[in-house]
C-alpha cells in the first residue's frame, strides 16, 4: 500500500466533499421562509420515516444487530491480543520457552517474572513463569520479542477478576498436553512472516 495519502499533510488539497447546504438565512424573514418551506416539505418526517423503517426491518426482516453477548460471541480477529498462551513443541510436547527472559525484559508494565534453573540434562529449565494480568496492557511486545514463538496472545478476552492483581502461572498458559494436536500457531505480533524463507541467508554447513 502506498503511504502517499497519509504523507500529504496539506489538508486543503485533500478530497473533502462539501455538503450542498444552503446558506443560513440572515434575516428574520428569511428564517421564517425557511421554516415554512421546511414545514411544508415535511422534512422532519423524513427522520421519522427512517427510524420507522429501521424498526420494521429489525422486527420483521430479521435485521436485528444485537449479539446476545455472553450467550453468543462474535469471532475475534486472529491477530487480536488477549490473554497469553504458552505454546509447546509439536513433536515432543515440551514447552517451547527457553527462559531467555526477553519477554521479561521488554515488558513495559513489568508484569512477567520467571524462575529458571540448571536441570539434570544440563539445560535451562523454566521452573515457573507468571504474568500479572492485573498489570499487563496487552501490548504484544512479549509475543513479538519471543525468539521461540513460545509466548503468544490467545483469544480469551474476558478478564474480569475480583482482585487487581491476577497472576497466571506457567501451567495455566501452557497448551494442555492432550490438546497438543489442536494447538495453532499465532499469526499476530512476532509470527514468522510468510516470506521468511526468502529473506533468510543460509549459513554454510560443512556436513
Amino acid at each position: 500500500m502506498s503511504l502517499e495519502q497519509f504523507k500529504n499533510r496539506n489538508v486543503g488539497t485533500q478530497e473533502y466533499r462539501m455538503l450542498d447546504l444552503e446558506p443560513t438565512p440572515e434575516t428574520g424573514w428569511g428564517r421564517f421562509k425557511r421554516v415554512v418551506r421546511r414545514s411544508v416539505k415535511l422534512e422532519l418526517f423524513t427522520g421519522l420515516k427512517v427510524t420507522f423503517r429501521e424498526m420494521i426491518k429489525a422486527l420483521f426482516m430479521g435485521e436485528m444487530h444485537t449479539t446476545k453477548y455472553p450467550f453468543e460471541k462474535l469471532p475475534i480477529a486472529p491477530r487480536y491480543r488477549a490473554i497469553h498462551e504458552m505454546k509447546r513443541l509439536l513433536e515432543s510436547g515440551h514447552y517451547r520457552c527457553i527462559g531467555c527472559g526477553l519477554c521479561e525484559k521488554i515488558c513495559i508494565s513489568d508484569c512477567i517474572r520467571m524462575d529458571t534453573r540448571y536441570d539434570e540434562n544440563q539445560r535451562k529449565e523454566v521452573s515457573e513463569y507468571t504474568i500479572n494480568f492485573g498489570r499487563c496492557i496487552f501490548c504484544g511486545y512479549c509475543a513479538e520479542v519471543c525468539p521461540e514463538l513460545a509466548i503468544v496472545h490467545g483469544g480469551r478476552y474476558e478478564n474480569a477478576s475480583e482482585q487487581r492483581a491476577s497472576y497466571a502461572l506457567f501451567e495455566d498458559m501452557l497448551t494442555p498436553l492432550d490438546q497438543l494436536a489442536q494447538q495453532k500457531e499465532y499469526p499476530g505480533f512476532g509470527a514468522v512472516s510468510p516470506d521468511a524463507d526468502e529473506k533468510i541467508k543460509k549459513t554454510p554447513l560443512a556436513y
Partner: protein
C-alpha cells in the same frame, strides 16, 4: 619504567600517553574505541584474537601489543582492517551454538557485541564441529567448551594476575581447515581460526579439576558464557540484576565489586544477591569476595525488647569487644563510646597491628607506610615479602607479588616459616626462604644488608651488618681451555700431522667469597643464595617490601617496626603492610584500643556477655556489611565507600547511639567526622566518588593523608634468637577463601574450620587431632593442603566463637602438642 609523556595521534586526535604504553591502553585512556577481545589490562598480551589490529605509521600492528612511540600516527579503521575484523568475528561465530537465549552471558557477551558492532550478518566459513563437553572444573567453576572462543583470557588472568596458572590450552580434536580458505580469507582471520580450531581450555594439571584457589576471576574475565560460576548457571538473566557498587568487606584489600541483586524468586519478592561482578580490568577479586556474598542478616525486624536490653547492656558495659569487619563509621561510634562513657575497646585482631603501626610511625616520622599495592604492581620489579602467608593472608598482596614477576620481569624474595609450593611458581626469579618462626628480625636485617645504601646507614648498623660477612674460601669448578697437541693421521694420504687444539677442562679452584651469615642463619645456603641473588638483581630498579601479620604479634614488634622504617628509608624500597583483617587499618586509625577486656563485655560480632551480631545469632541483630552503607579503609590507604545491597529491617549501631544520646540521623552522617588528625578527610559520604576511570585510575573515595612527625633516631636492637620457636608449631592462618564468620556463612565457600597441614604431615596426623595450647585446646579435623610444605600446621581463626586469638596469644605462632583422637 620510564614515565616520559609523549604525544601520539589516534584517528586524528592528539593523545597524551606515556612512552612504552600499549597503543590500545593509550586509546582507551583517551576514550577512543578499538575492538579488543583477548587483552586484559595489567596482564600480558595474548595475541589470540587479533581483532585489535590498527595501522601505526602505515604498518599493521596489534594495538594490545604495540607500544606507543612519540609522534606515532595511528588509524584504527581502514577498509582492510574492517574486513579483517569482520572475518575474525565471522570465524568466531562458526559453529558457535545459537543459544544466546539461554546463555548466562546473554546481554553482556562480547561475542554478541562485536558480532553486531562489526556488522556480521552472514557467514561465509564453515567447518565440521567437534564435540566439546561441558565440565565442572571445581566447586565453583563451570566450563561450557561449546561456547569458548579460546581467547585465553582465563588462562592469562590466572597466570599473570592470580598466580595459580591453573589453566592452559589443550587439544580440541578439530579437523584441519579447508585448504581453499588460506588463499581466500584475510590472513589474520585465517591464522586465528587455525589456532582456534585446534584448542580448547583445560586445567593445566592434566586432570579434570583445577585444584586452584577458586577465585573465580577466570569466570569474570571470560567474554562469553563459556566460563561461569556454577551456582549462577541458568539462574537469572544478567540484565534483570541490579548492580550495586560496593566494597568487599572480607579482607583488608577492600576490593571494589558489584553486588548483583534481583527478587529471589516468583514466590519470594525479597531482594537477593545473585552474584558478584568486578571491574576485572582494574580490580581482581579473590574467592571470598566473589563467592562469599550471601552473608546478609536475613529477615530481621525491629525487636524492641532486645533493643532495650542492648541499650541497657551498653549503659553498664565496661568493655566492647569487636571484630574488624565494621565500617569506619561504626568504628568511630565505638570510639565515641569510649570517649564519652569510658568503655574499653578490645579488638585482638587489630591491636598488635595498631601498636606496630604506631611504632613504625615513631621511627619513620610518617603515620602510614609509604607505598601501596597498586603502586607496587605498576612499578616494582623486585618484591620482598616478610611475615605474610601470601597465599592465605591477603589475595591482593599475593596478586601484586605474582603480577610483578609476570609483568615487570621481576624477582621476588619470600621469607616465611611455612613452606608454600605455589609462591615459587610465580616466577623463575622467586626465591623462598623458609626460616624458623621468630626469625623475622634476621630477615629484615638481611633485607637491609642486601638492599641498603651502606654509606647512608647509621654507623652502628653498618658495623653490625658487616659483622655478618665473612670472607670464606670455596672450591668452584671452573672451565679452563687447555691446549693439547694431537697427532692426527690423514686417512687418504696416511700422513701424520700434529694438530694443536683447545679443549675445555674442568678444574677445581679455591676462590674467596663473601659468606653471608644472615642467610645461613635463616637456613639457606649462602653460596647458592648469593648466586641466584646476583641473577635476580639484574636490571632491577624498583624494590618493594611487603610486611605481614607475623611481624605485628612478634615479641620484638617494636624493633621490627624500627627495622621496617630503616629498610624503607635506606633501601629505597616501597613499603606496604598487610593489615590483618577487613577494616583493620580503619580501626587502627580511628579507635584507641585497649589491651585487655575487663568486666561486663558487649561483643560486636565477637563473644561477650551481651552480643550484638550481624550473623543473626546474637542478642540483638546488626546489619551485615552488605546491608550497610559507609566507608572502609583499604590496605591501599584509601577510604572507600560501600553501599547497601540488601535491605535490613532491624536496628543499627547508630540507633543504639541515638538511644544513648550520642547518635546522628544516619550512619553515614558520621563520615564527615572521621578524624582528620589521623589522615581522614572531612568529606560527606554522598560526595565520595566510586569506581575507576578508563585508564584505570582509582577514583574511589579519597586517599588517607599520612601525618608527618619527627623520625626518632633510637637505635635498632640486634637480632635476637629469643623469639625463635622450635618443636611442634601451630600457625594461626585461615584457608584461602575464609576470613571470618561471614565468609563461612556464604553457601559457596566450603573450606572447613579444620587443621590444615602439608599432605605428608596430614597423613602422619590422621583424621582428627586435639591441638593443645598452653591456654586450652581445640579438637579439629585434619585437612591436607597440597600447597603447604613442612611441619608447621595451620589453625584457622575465622570462627569468632572458637576464640583462637586467646589460644595463640599475640603471636601467630605457638608451640602446641598434637594429639590424635
Amino acid at each position: 619504567m620510564s614515565k616520559n609523556e609523549i604525544t601520539i595521534t589516534i584517528d586524528g586526535v592528539e593523545c597524551r600517553t606515556t612512552e612504552g604504553e600499549y597503543i590500545l591502553n593509550a586509546a582507551r585512556a583517551n576514550g577512543i574505541f578499538i575492538p579488543a577481545i583477548c587483552y586484559l589490562t595489567r596482564c600480558s598480551p595474548t595475541l589470540a584474537c587479533r581483532i585489535c589490529l590498527v595501522e601505526a605509521d602505515g604498518k599493521r600492528v596489534y594495538s594490545c601489543n604495540a607500544k606507543a612511540k612519540e609522534g606515532m600516527e595511528i588509524v584504527t579503521q581502514t577498509e582492510e582492517i574492517l574486513e579483517e575484523r569482520r572475518a575474525i568475528m565471522e570465524v568466531y561465530d562458526v559453529n558457535h551454538p545459537l543459544q544466546c537465549g539461554v546463555c548466562d552471558q546473554h546481554g553482556e557477551c562480547e561475542l554478541q557485541n562485536y558480532t553486531l558492532e562489526l556488522g556480521v550478518d552472514s557467514q561465509h566459513y564453515a567447518i565440521a564441529d567437534t564435540l566439546r563437553e561441558t565440565k565442572n572444573w571445581s566447586t565453583v567453576l563451570h566450563y561450557d567448551a561449546g561456547l569458548c572462543i579460546v581467547c585465553e583470557r582465563c588462562v592469562t588472568v590466572c597466570k599473570d594476575m592470580i598466580g595459580d596458572s591453573a589453566l592452559k590450552t589443550g587439544p580440541r580434536g578439530g579437523g584441519p581447515l579447508d585448504k581453499g580458505y588460506k588463499e581466500t580469507m584475510p590472513k589474520d582471520a585465517y591464522a586465528m581460526w587455525n589456532k582456534l580450531q585446534k584448542s580448547i581450555i583445560v586445567p593445566s594439571n592434566g586432570t579434570e579439576h583445577t585444584n586452584c584457589s577458586d577465585c573465580g576471576e577466570c569466570t569474570a574475565v571470560c567474554p562469553v558464557g563459556a566460563l561461569t560460576e556454577r551456582d549462577f548457571v541458568y539462574k537469572a538473566n544478567p540484565w534483570e540484576l541490579k548492580e550495586i557498587p560496593a566494597t568487599c568487606a572480607h579482607c583488608s584489600s577492600g576490593c571494589h565489586l558489584y553486588y548483583e541483586t534481583r527478587f529471589s524468586s516468583i514466590d519470594n519478592p525479597e531482594e537477593m544477591i545473585f552474584r558478584v561482578k568486578n571491574e576485572w580490568n582494574f580490580q581482581s577479586l579473590c574467592g571470598a569476595g566473589r563467592f562469599g556474598y550471601d552473608y546478609e542478616n536475613r529477615n530481621v525486624s525491629k525487636d524492641e525488647v532486645a533493643f532495650a536490653q542492648a541499650v541497657a547492656a551498653l549503659q553498664k558495659a565496661e568493655t566492647i569487644r569487636f571484630s574488624s569487619m565494621i565500617s569506619n563509621e561504626e568504628a568511630l561510634m565505638l570510639q565515641r563510646l569510649k570517649e564519652e562513657k569510658g568503655i574499653r575497646l578490645v579488638n585482638p585482631e587489630v591491636r598488635p597491628f595498631q601498636r606496630f603501626l604506631t611504632a613504625y610511625a615513631k621511627s619513620s616520622g610518617r603515620s602510614l607506610y609509604g607505598s601501596d599495592y597498586r603502586e607496587i604492581m605498576e612499578e616494582s620489579d623486585f618484591v620482598v615479602s616478610i611475615g605474610a602467608a601470601l597465599r592465605n593472608d591477603n589475595p591482593n598482596a599475593r596478586y601484586a607479588f605474582n603480577n610483578v614477576q609476570k609483568m615487570n620481569k621481576g624477582a621476588g624474595l619470600y621469607f616465611h616459616p611455612v613452606g608454600d609450593t605455589l609462591v615459587p611458581t610465580f616466577g623463575k626469579s622467586v626465591e623462598c626462604i623458609t626460616h624458623k618462626p621468630g626469625q623475622e628480625e634476621t630477615a629484615l636485617y638481611l633485607v637491609l644488608d642486601l638492599f641498603a645504601d651502606k654509606e647512608a646507614l647509621p654507623d652502628y648498623l653498618r658495623e653490625y651488618l658487616e659483622g655478618f660477612h665473612e670472607t670464606r674460601k670455596k672450591t668452584v669448578k671452573e672451565k679452563v681451555m687447555k691446549e693439547v697437541t694431537e697427532i692426527v693421521k690423514d686417512e687418504e694420504t696416511g700422513e701424520e700431522k700434529e694438530v694443536k687444539k683447545k679443549v675445555p677442562e674442568m678444574v677445581e679452584k679455591e676462590v674467596e667469597y663473601d659468606h653471608n651469615l644472615l642467610v645461613e642463619a635463616l637456613g639457606a645456603d649462602p653460596v647458592a643464595f648469593a648466586e641466584s641473588f646476583e641473577k635476580m638483581m639484574k636490571k632491577k630498579e624498583s624494590f618493594a617490601l611487603i610486611l605481614g601479620e607475623d611481624l605485628y604479634g612478634h615479641p620484638h614488634w617494636e624493633n621490627l617496626a624500627k627495622l621496617a622504617a630503616l629498610a624503607e628509608k635506606h633501601c629505597g624500597m616501597k613499603l606496604a603492610m598487610i593489615p590483618p583483617k577487613s577494616n583493620a587499618l580503619g580501626v587502627a586509625l580511628i579507635c584507641d584500643l585497649d589491651e585487655e577486656a575487663e568486666g561486663y563485655t558487649v561483643g560486636y560480632n565477637q563473644p561477650g556477655d551481651f552480643r550484638l551480631s550481624a550473623l543473626g545469632d546474637g542478642d540483638l541483630d546488626m546489619p551485615a556489611m552488605n546491608q550497610q552503607e559507609g566507608t572502609m579503609t583499604t590496605m591501599n590507604k584509601r577510604v572507600v565507600p560501600t553501599n547497601a545491597a540488601l535491605e535490613y529491617g532491624g536496628y543499627t549501631l547508630n540507633d543504639l547511639m541515638n538511644a544513648l544520646g550520642l547518635g546522628k540521623r544516619l550512619t553515614v552522617d558520621w563520615t564527615m567526622e572521621l578524624p582528620v588528625d589521623r589522615g581522614f578527610q572531612a568529606e560527606a559520604f554522598d560526595d565520595l566518588k566510586d569506581g575507576f576511570l578508563n585508564d584505570g585510575t582509582e577514583i574511589r573515595g579519597y586517599a588517607l593523608t599520612p601525618i608527618r612527625g619527627r623520625a626518632s633516631t633510637a637505635k635498632a636492637k640486634p637480632a635476637s634468637d629469643e623469639a625463635v620457636l622450635e618443636g611442634t608449631i601451630a600457625y594461626r592462618c585461615n584457608p584461602q577463601r575464609q576470613f571470618n564468620d561471614f565468609t563461612d556463612k556464604a553457601h559457596q565457600i566450603f573450606e572447613a574450620f579444620a587443621l590444615y597441614a602439608s599432605p605428608e604431615k596430614a597423613e602422619e596426623l590422621g583424621e582428627k587431632v586435639e591441638v593443645i595450647f598452653e591456654e586450652g585446646s581445640l579438637t579439629l579435623d585434619v585437612v591436607a593442603d597440597e600447597r603447604m610444605n613442612g611441619e608447621i600446621v595451620a589453625v584457622p581463626d575465622f570462627k569468632a566463637s572458637a576464640d583462637v586469638y586467646r589460644l595463640f596469644g599475640e603471636s601467630r605462632y605457638a608451640n602446641v602438642t598434637l594429639k590424635k583422637v
